[in-house]
Symmetry: C2
Subunit: 230 residues, 2 copies
DNA sequence: ATATGGTAAGTAAGTGCATACTTACTTGTG
DNA sequence: CACAAGTAAGTATGCACTTACTTACCATAT
């Protein structure tokens, strides 16, 4: 951080370098994401954010009326990431073409990659969920749950096609999303406990999860297994 | 809540009914678990806890020197649950007997049930993890990671036996723990988004997850699938 | 049985500090 | 030189925690 300097009779005074409002706003957002993700919304003070940005606390409130609004801006920003939109279209295409492997690998990869890139944002969202913010629920619904429903729909379709075993499509979708989500999120929180597995490259992990899942959906032993149990 | 009543010249004064210290302490713990799980450690005030317990705030500090200490008492209490120890022994037995279905159903059921019963406690622990408490990490390590390692070991053994497909045992274990964990924990956080799935009884859910998993581990199409891809 | 005193369970009313947010002012730059 | 970007120094509120006090309960002596 470089500062403007002004020498007065009582000594040197440092002021933050002037920035265009838009830049400063973005800088504050970036810093807030990092801090919120490390310490939670309630655990982060506006003073800390200001300090990290190298400006006076009042500047925060010039750009965001309340701490709450700053928080909303973070959620909004991450909710409208265009990366997601692009991938979603590709996914739809793969689904239309009934390219099973591609569908599941894409879903897995998208989740892993999104969480990798937006690690901080995801942590913020986990916090939100825990802190009971409605906004986070909306974001979660659009990202994870929509994906989840889409997947369930696809599984149902492929079951009708006779390609997948006739399992409950919701359970199946949940299983898949679950294993990927766990790998992406929960594994990261507790990274120290099982770092060995986190070395897996996202692409490779997506392939492995797809392997396991497709195997369970397309083989014959599944129904036999079920029959045996009854 | 019943109160002792005292009539003075200025009216009726209500005081909390006297309780043995041990009982009051436990009551405060129970209430704190609930509140912490709903609103997080930082999001819950000692005043709220006192209000919910029907006593003066100062009582909290009679039993716990600091809010932090109250929190630690919660973590400790849940870490030494004996339910876990019992189930762990049964699991070891099933593993020795190579009863695959039983092993996985037990693991799934144990996780689901533990989280169901200790829903609040688990949320507290998630918070802890996010808030960066070392204690929670220890608890998590003993409960989830130990289970995870045990499972990976079992999968490795069964692979050597030639019963399971030769997959990376860590990935396989992670997949299974992942889908169950997701169902148990993450699904609950975002309960409103997919309540339909949460109606599944734990026992039934454990069976379904085991179905899916064992199918993927024991069928022949897995390797074929893998070969096709290359 | 009954009075009594020590003790533990309870209370009201603070204290001090941290924090979100404000106000009134200053200064660098197009 | 206007005005947006910056600052210092607040205010008000809410929080963890304290203090000084009161009262129910129960064991024991009478």
């Amino acid at each position: 951080m470089t500062f403007n300097k002004k020498t007065t009779e009582i000594g040197e005074i440092r002021t933050a370098p002037r920035m265009a409002a838009e830049d400063r706003r973005q800088q504050i957002l970036d810093i807030a994401v990092r801090l919120f993700s490390q310490k939670g919304f309630r655990g982060t003070t506006t003073k800390e954010i200001a300090l990290a940005a190298g400006v006076n606390e009042a500047i925060i409130f010039r750009h965001f009326a309340t701490k709450e609004e700053l928080y909303r801006a973070i959620i909004d920003q991450n909710a409208s990431s265009e990366q997601i939109m692009t991938l979603e279209k590709e996914l739809d295409k793969a689904m239309e073409e009934s390219d099973d492997r591609r569908v599941f690998e894409m879903v897995a990869y998208q989740m892993l990659d999104f969480h990798g890139v937006n690690d901080s944002a995801m942590r913020v969202m986990m916090y939100s969920a825990l802190e009971g913010h409605e906004l986070a629920e909306i974001v979660f619904r659009t990202h994870i749950t929509e994906m989840f429903k889409k997947l369930a729909g696809y599984i149902k379709k492929r079951t009708k096609d006779g390609v997948f075993q006739s399992v409950d499509e919701m359970t199946a979708a949940r299983s898949f999303v679950g294993m990927v989500f766990y790998h992406a999120i929960v594994g990261k929180f507790y990274g120290k406990c099982s770092r060995d597995l986190l070395d897996l490259d996202n692409r490779e992990a997506a392939v492995r999860f797809t392997d396991i899942f497709l195997a369970s959906m397309t083989n014959l032993s599944f129904n036999l297994n079920k029959a045996k149990r009854k």
